[in-house]
Symmetry: C2
């Protein structure tokens, strides 16, 4: 086992809310209490929450998204609410619960219960614990987007015998210093809000600044070209309604510590691409303001013969994975098919 630093001390503390997988049903959720040896903090109790969709004998693909993603990727019969990757996980898609089992999980810290530095290595080890619990020895593929791509890299390095292929979308082997500075300032906006009692106000502002890094000037130019208004003696620009809604929605559903610690976690990430010894498809978006194309090229170069690069041009920048679902699906279909050839 590749995760000697982590140990399950209790499983099934919470029973899955649906019937067991091997009954052939489609979706199951569960929550596990475990102790994880964390890189910066030593052993800590954590909760591992997952959702697994598909038939019990199919190969398993993990799908992991950005820091605000979670275990519910798409609506299904048992959990009909919308997921964060609708359009990518569906019948006929490269990620099709009729063909594979799709496993997704809440990142540790996403519940706000860990107010300490969280490493992407910790997330990878938490996933390995979860796979033990589920009796899954190997993943057909890890599809990671944004923060999920970083976790996928760590999983490939730390648990390589459990992974056949990695698809890393919009995430490089280290954060770009400019993007790191941008995130650091977002965390300061939260800290400013915390000074007295405007915590959600600060979190909303941080999210609004983050939105500017997820999207592009092209998109804003098309959507928000109206002149500003003077409202109550203050200038209000066209994008502010949109940003207000985005900030409020995010602050309402996100614990402040979850945001702070997962944001930090992106900035803690640094791996040696040469240590990733599974076939890896790197997907980069030209115009991504957080993860420049050049950094994805650097990752692919470090991967050597195991790496390949797909470049997408999109006005959605870092959010292209969530917006360009047809084009991303085509890339995933190719990536998973090429796995069949090499595995």
């Amino acid at each position: 086992m590749g995760f000697a630093t982590a140990a399950v001390v209790a499983t099934d503390t919470f029973a899955p809310v649906s019937v067991p997988l091997d009954a052939g049903l489609h979706a199951v959720r569960g929550e596990i209490a475990a102790v994880l040896s964390m890189r910066h903090n030593g052993p800590r109790p954590v909760r591992l929450r997952y959702e697994l969709v598909g038939r019990g004998d199919a190969p398993v693909v993990v799908l992991a998204g950005g820091i605000s993603a979670h275990r519910h990727v798409a609506a299904n019969a048992e959990f009909p609410e919308k997921g964060w990757a609708e359009g990518l996980v569906a019948a006929g898609r490269a990620l099709d619960p009729a063909v594979q089992r799709i496993l997704a999980f809440d990142f540790i810290g996403a519940d706000g219960a860990l107010d300490l530095p969280i490493d992407t290595a910790d997330q990878a080890d938490a996933l390995a614990l979860l796979l033990d619990h589920l009796g899954i020895s190997q993943l057909q593929c890890f599809v990671g987007y944004s923060y999920g791509a970083l976790v996928g890299q760590q999983f490939a390095i730390r648990h390589r015998q459990r992974l056949l292929k990695l698809v890393a979308v919009s995430g490089a082997h280290r954060p770009h210093p400019y993007a790191a500075a941008w995130r650091a300032l977002q965390r300061r906006a939260v800290a400013l809000g915390q000074l007295q009692c405007a915590e959600s106000h600060g979190l909303a502002l941080a999210r609004q600044f983050a939105m500017l890094s997820y999207r592009t000037p092209e998109e804003f130019g098309e959507r928000f070209d109206a002149p500003p208004e003077v409202v109550n003696g203050r200038v209000r620009v066209a994008a502010e309604d949109y940003l207000d809604a985005a900030g409020a929605q995010y602050a309402a559903r996100t614990p402040v510590d979850a945001y702070l610690r997962l944001s930090e976690s992106i900035d803690l990430h640094r791996v040696d691409p040469a240590a990733i010894r599974v076939p890896t498809v790197v997907v980069a978006v030209e115009g991504d303001r957080l993860v420049p194309l050049a950094d994805c090229v650097g990752l692919v170069e470090g991967l050597g013969p195991r790496g390949s690069l797909r470049v997408l041009r999109s006005p959605y920048g870092h959010d292209a994975f969530l917006k360009e679902t047809d084009r991303i699906d085509a890339i995933l279909a190719n990536a998973i098919r090429s796995l069949g050839e090499t595995a």
Copy 2:
């Protein structure tokens, strides 16, 4: 006169601190009390503060910079402290006090005394009042950078008979919606600070976010590539020392209302390029995250035969004017020389 909306009601309320210009000395500062008819607020008392450097009979060039610029552009015998455009105003440069008189002024609102919407048209009319006071009928050239370029456009439109040539660096005829959103969020950081009795803290954060828009990922990638540190249980990235210093320095010297109202003023700016009827050189920086090249091209297209474009590639982005002084000087030399041919 092209500024019927503005009227001087009192001049020389404050005597110049140096001897009068026509004595042939090099630098003079002055401050005028006036009433300005403001676009969004009607008549308001304002202070017009200027510095004029050069010989009394030379042609006058106005140099106006970004919202944090001021009347002191370069050290001189009378005022030896460093100015904001050192390296561009000097012996042998295109802007040489031995050849022209260089006029610079504090933007209205820069003293924090105007807590209301300020239009770029107001700044242009304030300059016209100042020229009346100084007995200057016509400018050889208006060199505007960033906010100064917007003011120059308004001056060319509203007071065209007083201007022979405009050089507009890193400023288009309207703000880009993405840049406007970025500034709106900076103003929210200030508002959050005000809510928390941490006004200078909020202003420093706003300035730090602004720094990211003034500079480029290329520069940050070169300067701040060190790994993050965990300090007191918090992740601190490599650029934070730099950003701390930039924020503190700015907050110490800038009234909060000055920042808010001049930031708004950029977002209020919208002119029709076709209304600018003086020869205009537009200087754009490829990689400027605030003023995209495409918007400068739009400005030049609207100028028709009166416009020409110079494009600079710089890792300093929006701040190239202040950093690439040799290359900017060469562009200014050409622009001022070509004026001689057409005037």
